[in-house]
C-alpha cells in the first residue's frame, strides 16, 4: 500500500541570505510510482529528497505524504514509516544482518517472532540467503550490503521509500543486476519511491517520472522518460540527457515491441531441397536458414556448403552467434548484436524457442519510422512489467 508524495512550494535555504538549496519545489508523485530526482551535483536533489523525511527541515512550503503534512508528526515517528536507503548504506556494524533488517520493526515494538519472520522474508525478497542473517556487515560484499540496506528500508512495509544514489558505490556489473532486481521488486510491491541519482541512464531505466534539476534547486522538467527524450523542455535538459537521445530510447523498448524478421527454419535430417525451396521464396527476409531442434530451439545457421549435402547435417557450419530474448531491453539486444559481430541474432521466447530474427537494420528502420513514436508511447510501461 503506497501513498502519494507532494511538494508544495518546498524551499530550503541555509542561512538568512544566499541561494536556496531547494527553490519552491512543486511536484506530485502519484502513489506507487518511482520519481527520479536527477541532476548535476549541487542541484539540490538529495536535499529535496531529505525534506520528505525531515532529515533536512523545510524553510518554507510543505511536503505532504498521502495528504498529510510531514510537519504534523515528530521526525522520529515520521521516519519509521518511510524507507530510507543511502549510498554508503550505513548498516550498523555492531549488529547482525538480521538485527539490522529488523531495526525499524524493533523501534515499532513488533514481537520478536513476527520480526524474525519478516526478516527472513525480506532477505529472500532482496535475493540473499537467509542464513546471512547471522553474519555481521563487515563480512558481506558491497552489493550484499546494499541489498540489506534495501531490506531494512522495506522491513516495516512503509508506503514511501527514499533512495539516495543507492547503487552508486557498486561496480557497474552488479549495479545493473541490482537495478533490474529492484525493478522486479517494485513490480511486486509497488511502493512510492523518490530516487536520487546523477546518472541520467539510471534515471531513464528506473523512473516512471523524472525530475531534472539544476543548481539552485530548481526543476527544469518533470516528465516521463519518453517525453524527456523526445521533447526536452530546455537546453539544459537537452544537454543533460545527452546527444545520444535516440540510442537512449532503445532503453525504453523491448525486443518484443517490434516486428521481427523470419528466417526459414530447417530441422536435422530434413532434405536440403526443401530448405532451398523455402530460401528461394520471395517473401524471405533473412537469406540464411536457421537450424532448429525438435522443440524449435535454435542450433545454428546453415551455410551454402551445408545446403550442398543431401540431408541437413546435425552440426551447422556457422555457429549460432548472439541469441536474444523477447523480454530483453532493446538497448541490451543491440549491444549483443554488435558484440557478436553478426548481422543477425536469433530471438527466442521464454522457453528458448525461436520467435524471430533481429538485425541492426530492423532496429534502425524502426527508429526512423513514424510508427516508432506512437509505439514508444505505449511502451512507456516499464520494462519490468
Amino acid at each position: 500500500m503506497a501513498e502519494s508524495v507532494r511538494y508544495e512550494g518546498a524551499t530550503k535555504r541555509y542561512g538568512k541570505s544566499g541561494p536556496p538549496a531547494v527553490d519552491e519545489l512543486t511536484l506530485e508523485v502519484p502513489a506507487g510510482e518511482i520519481c527520479v530526482l536527477v541532476g548535476p551535483s549541487g542541484c539540490g536533489k538529495t536535499t529535496a529528497m531529505r525534506l520528505v523525511n525531515r532529515t533536512v527541515e523545510l524553510t518554507a512550503g510543505d511536503v505532504l505524504i498521502g495528504g498529510r503534512s510531514v510537519r504534523e508528526r515528530e521526525p522520529a515517528r515520521l521516519r519509521r514509516e518511510i524507507g530510507y536507503v543511502i549510498q554508503q548504506v550505513g548498516l550498523f556494524p555492531h549488529r547482525t544482518i538480521a538485527e539490522n533488517v529488523a531495526a525499524v520493526p524493533q523501534l515499532l515494538g513488533w514481537e520478536k517472532e513476527r520480526a524474525r519472520e519478516r526478516t527472513a522474508e525480506l532477505l529472500e525478497l532482496v535475493g540473499l540467503d537467509p542464513e546471512l542473517g547471522e553474519r555481521y556487515p563487515a563480512q558481506l560484499s558491497g552489493g550484499q550490503q546494499q541489498r540489506v540496506g534495501v531490506a531494512r528500508a522495506l522491513a516495516a512495509d512503509p508506503p514511501v521509500m527514499l533512495m539516495d544514489e543507492p547503487f552508486g558505490a557498486i561496480d557497474p556489473i552488479n549495479r545493473e543486476r541490482l537495478q533490474n532486481e529492484f525493478l522486479r521488486l517494485q513490480a511486486e510491491i509497488g511502493k512510492t519511491v523518490l530516487f536520487v541519482t546523477h546518472d541520467i541512464d539510471e534515471a531513464i531505466k528506473i523512473g516512471d517520472r523524472i525530475a531534472v534539476m539544476r543548481e539552485g534547486g530548481r526543476v527544469e522538467q518533470y516528465a516521463t522518460p519518453a517525453e524527456l527524450l523526445m521533447a526536452p523542455a530546455t537546453e539544459f535538459v537537452e544537454d543533460f540527457v545527452g546527444a545520444d537521445r535516440a540510442l537512449k530510447r532503445l532503453a525504453l523498448m523491448r525486443v518484443s515491441d517490434i516486428d521481427l524478421w523470419e528466417a526459414p527454419l530447417a530441422h536435422v535430417g530434413q532434405a536440403t531441397a526443401e530448405v532451398r525451396a523455402k530460401l528461394a521464396a520471395p517473401e524471405v527476409e533473412v537469406p540464411y536458414p536457421l537450424l532448429v531442434d525438435g522443440e524449435r530451439r535454435p542450433l545454428g545457421w546453415l551455410s551454402d556448403r551445408d545446403l550442398g549435402e543431401e540431408l541437413v547435417p546435425g552440426e551447422p557450419d556457422a555457429p549460432l552467434g548472439p541469441v536474444v530474448e523477447l523480454d530483453d531491453v532493446m538497448r541490451d539486444a543491440l549491444a549483443d548484436l554488435l558484440q557478436g559481430e553478426s548481422q543477425y541474432a536469433a530471438v527466442v521466447d521464454g522457453g528458448g524457442r525461436i520467435a524471430g530474427v533481429l538485425s541492426i537494420e530492423i532496429i534502425s528502420e524502426f527508429l526512423s519510422s513514424p510508427g516508432a513514436k506512437t509505439d514508444e508511447q505505449s511502451a512507456v510501461e516499464r520494462p519490468h512489467d
Binding site: Y84, G90, H94, A153, L162
Partner: protein, 244 residues
C-alpha cells in the same frame, strides 16, 4: 637473607632482596625505627590493598559519573570540542604530587578530599576519549540510524555508544592508571594505601619498599586486565578487536 621461622624478625639489611620482599608480604617483621613494632605481614598488606582499591574505585566512579555523560552529550551534539579536548590536554599537565601535597597542606586530609583530588586526574582522559569516540563513529551509520526513525537519544544509546566503546574504554583505562598511580602516594594525604610501604622506608625497611613496589605494580596490572576483559565483553562481535 632473613633467618627463617615465623614470629618477629628484625629488619637488618639495608638492601632489598626478592626473598626479603616476599617474607615481608607474608609474615610480620620487626621495624627497627619505631622500636620493634611489627610491620608487614598479610593482614597489613590486605588492609592497605583494600584501602587503595577503595579509594581508586570511588574516584573512578566519581570521574565516570561526571565525565561520561558530559562526553556523550558533547560528542553527540558535536559541540564543546575545545573544552573536551582541551581539558584532556590540561589534565595531563597536572603534577599528581603537587595535587596531593596541596590537598594535604591546604584543604585537608581524608578519604573524601582524596577521592575528589583523584577524580580531578581521572576526569580528563574519560571526557576526551568519550567525546572523540562518539565523534569518530561513521557519519553514514549515524545518518542511517536517524533516517530510519531513531530519536536522538536512541541514536546515541543504540548506535554511537556501542561503536565508541573501544575508544571510551581506552580513556577509562588511562584514567585508572592515573588514579592508581596517584593513590600510591596517598599516604602523604593521610590515607594509607600500599604506597605507604614505598614512601616510608624508615618504617618498613628496604624489603618493605620492594614489597610495596611489587604489590602496587601487581594491583595496577590486575585492574588493567580486568578492565581489558570487561571491554572485550562489552564490545560487539561485529567490531574489529581493539588494539588500544
Amino acid at each position: 637473607m632473613a633467618a627463617g621461622g615465623g614470629g618477629v624478625i628484625p629488619l637488618h639489611h639495608t638492601f632489598a632482596s626478592l626473598g626479603g620482599a616476599f617474607e615481608f608480604i607474608f609474615s610480620p617483621q620487626a621495624s627497627n625505627v619505631t622500636g620493634g613494632t611489627t610491620v608487614g605481614g598479610l593482614d597489613q598488606v590486605i588492609e592497605l590493598t583494600v584501602n587503595q582499591l577503595e579509594v581508586t574505585v570511588l574516584a573512578l566512579a566519581l570521574s565516570l559519573f561526571i565525565a561520561l555523560p558530559a562526553g556523550l552529550y558533547f560528542g553527540h551534539r558535536g559541540t564543546g570540542e575545545l573544552l573536551a579536548v582541551g581539558l584532556g590536554n590540561a589534565g595531563r599537565a597536572i603534577p599528581e604530587l603537587a595535587l596531593i601535597a596541596f590537598m594535604a597542606a591546604a584543604i585537608g586530609v581524608g578519604v573524601l578530599n582524596l577521592t575528589i583530588a583523584l577524580a580531578v586526574l581521572g576526569i580528563p582522559p574519560i571526557l576526551t576519549n568519550t567525546f572523540v569516540g562518539i565523534r569518530q563513529v561513521d557519519r553514514a551509520t549515524v545518518d542511517a540510524a536517524r533516517g530510519i526513525g531513531m530519536t536522538e537519544f536512541e541514536v546515541l544509546r543504540k548506535v554511537e555508544l556501542p561503536l565508541a566503546i573501544p575508544t571510551i574504554f581506552s580513556g577509562i583505562r588511562g584514567a585508572t592508571v592515573n588514579i592508581v598511580a596517584t593513590a600510591t602516594i596517598a599516604p602523604l594525604a593521610g590515607v594509607l594505601t600500599l604506597g605507604d610501604f614505598i614512601i616510608n622506608r624508615n618504617v618498613y625497611g628496604a624489603d618493605g619498599v620492594l614489597a610495596g613496589a611489587i604489590l602496587v605494580a601487581l594491583l595496577a596490572l590486575a585492574l588493567e586486565f580486568s578492565l581489558a576483559g570487561l571491554q572485550r565483553l562489552l564490545t560487539s562481535k561485529g567490531l574489529k578487536p581493539s588494539t588500544a
